[in-house]
Point group: C2
Amino acid sequence: MSKAVVPISGGLDSSIILSIAAQKHDEVYAISYDYGQRHDKELLYAGIQVDEYDIEEHKIIDLWFFKDIASSSALTNSNIDVAHARDVLGDAQTVNYVPFRNMMMLSVACAYAEAIEANVVYHGSALVDSQAGYWDGSKEFLSSINSLIGLNRKSKIKIEAPLIKLSKQQIVKIGIDNKVKFEDTWTCYEGKEKACGYCTACSSRIQGFLQNNIKDPVEYERTDIPW
Amino acid sequence: MSKAVVPISGGLDSSIILSIAAQKHDEVYAISYDYGQRHDKELLYAGIQVDEYDIEEHKIIDLWFFKDIASSSALTNSNIDVAHARDVLGDAQTVNYVPFRNMMMLSVACAYAEAIEANVVYHGSALVDSQAGYWDGSKEFLSSINSLIGLNRKSKIKIEAPLIKLSKQQIVKIGIDNKVKFEDTWTCYEGKEKACGYCTACSSRIQGFLQNNIKDPVEYERTDIPW
């Protein structure tokens, strides 16, 4: 019996991972995090995505303390503007970075996995995340956190990140092949009615669709996207 | 300027660490976790301890989701009896183990440290923790989690565990030297009026005092302790 825990943000990458995990494991358990993120509407999309598969359970975990202790991030502090793609130099951690978010969330997912005796926890990082300066989205991070959790004496859990070496072009391609409903995903860091089209998250998503020569079904405020 | 984050459980070990950190750093920030633990009265003691030092801030973090996802532990599930010292064989993880608790809590402490630009996070594990079967209280865990957080590109944070090689006898000795108010600490896993004297936590504490030939000022239900 193969059991997996899939963290679902409501975004593109985790929706692709869900489509992969649903094919591969006997039982899939979904987990989402409510950390007071500016774009908390992603949680609504997480729920819609989970409903499209045969999932055992969907836990929504309250991590609101992030707003209190990690107030340096644009994602948890509404007084800081979200970084746009044009502002990002590719190495330093941008204001969109939330301190230790991935380590924190993966610890919670591993605790859940240990409790339900799952042996795989998925991690949604893609190539663009380490390129954008997120240390906790890199291959080195994945390898190191697996060494750490490998010390657990009873539960043998492995964190898998099937997208970590893939470009957005390749990720969107998997989504097309797996018939992922792109309209049911939310990527934009701004929590507005339409996606902005300018933030780092929108930018890489748009690129992925353009490189596959298809139009993203999500609506954008930005009007100059060359679909 | 040296800044440190000290997780304070209200117990013996973290009170000793607080006494060490208060001597060593210019600024000390305390953090405690409310995870629905059976012995939540330890949080009251954490507050009393913090008041005894010149601490910049004391954060209490709500991790109540632990009760939901980590229900396999006697510490978060009141239907499971706390393990007594006589039941513990020294290798397997006992029912007192809370899945991934230390990794989880250290991630939060590191996020806090990054936000306030502290470079040290303390970790309260002592020799008895790895002997009692807690993988996340071992030297290997400490070394591995430091490798992981060393990947952070901007914030250089180190986790220090000054008690990790020390017996309870040695720890109580430091407490005596540093004039720690032992009466203001709470160790027992049961959350009752008096400490039980039987659980794994009480047992090692009692041993530490007996080996120093002093009486623990905390009151115990157990009546046959040879002070």
